[in-house]
Assembly symmetry: C2
Homo-oligomer: 209 residues x 2
């Protein structure tokens, strides 16, 4: 199909498609004539992925590019699909360099040991959790990392189930795509469900029978 | 204290403080001399709040401004603290205008009825959930909103507990602050915990005993 048809089917404007082609997020089409190319279903699928990661996941183009690069990689180690996605989603900013943050990090490390999860030292989500803890303390809440215990208990069976239903018989590039979508789209859903449940229970509390 | 001391105690650069003053996110200090003002603990606290919402919550200044405006409002209806925070956190973009999205919205509405949560029609998180569902479908997953059932079941007792431990005897402006922090900081924590649990269970699966 031509780029106009690709734009229609993917619901992505032609200008954005050209931009993604230039930046390598979208693989080139098959050249047919000067300045024209033929695109296929793989291109439609890729554009929908980019759109989902951007609009639903709120990812910036640099992070989307890391995910599409991993999908397009020829020799992706199957056992590292997980790490590839996590590092691609990492916000990629410098960690804070102060004592309060380092104390929060050490506290989070002890907490995760206590929960019994085996997690690599460099996992970006470790730092993310430490930042959340440091922020709570800076705001005057006298908490340690055990403030996350109930959250970990609620999330653990859900995450175990999610991993158990993830197919293992797909190739690494498809696995990266599924995992990236599953991570960001369901994060959005979890956040939304929590806010909806908050509204429900707040109402129930403010209007007792 | 002077602005230099305020900057040191809040760990926010002076240029940013001046910016927040200009935009009304930070209340003015008490004028002491030409071009000088005196700041107090309330200013330190406000700057830490802004920093937490920005760095940990990833909120843009427009949304932070809506939260600080609600905190500063003289006559905030106590029963609407919840709605104020949710609307302030709303991404504020136009909803998609296509059949696929409207079908997803209707599906999410039915799902929430089934879950038994009482949620206002205009709750931004309803739309957020519909966007997540529409994205999954666009990516070729043949799902309806019941794909969120396990997530709702995991989140429900957690959200009920969170609401139950939220103090009711604080004034509305403090309630807005607590709720905004609790919503965005623990969202970040939940997302991080889920990613950490994914790593743990993925490892456990790929290296069976």
């Amino acid at each position: 199909m031509r780029i106009s048809e690709l734009s229609r089917r993917s619901e992505v404007p032609i200008a954005s498609i050209k931009f993604y082609l230039r930046d390598g997020l979208l693989m080139p089409g098959t050249p047919t004539a000067t300045n024209q190319a033929d695109y296929g279903d793989a291109h439609v699928r890729r554009l929908r992925l980019i759109r989902a990661l951007r609009d639903v996941g709120g990812l910036d183009l640099a992070r989307i590019a890391r995910i599409t690069a991993a999908i397009d990689a020829d020799r992706l180690p199957p056992h590292d699909v997980f790490g590839v996605v996590q590092r691609a989603l990492d916000p990629d900013t410098e960690p804070p360099d102060d004592d309060a943050f380092r104390a929060a990090e050490a506290d989070v490390d002890r907490f995760l040991d206590g929960v019994g999860w085996t997690v690599s030292d460099g996992a970006p989500a470790r730092r993310s959790l430490a930042e959340a803890l440091a922020a709570l303390r800076r705001l005057g809440r006298p908490v340690d990392a055990t403030v996350f215990r109930r959250y970990a208990e609620a999330i653990e069976p859900l995450a175990a189930w999610e991993v158990s239903v993830t197919p293992t018989d797909v190739d690494p590039s498809e696995a990266v795509e599924r995992m990236a979508v599953g991570t960001v789209v369901f994060e959005r859903a979890i956040v939304a469900l929590r806010r909806l449940a908050h509204e429900h229970f707040s109402r129930a509390r403010s209007r007792p029978e």
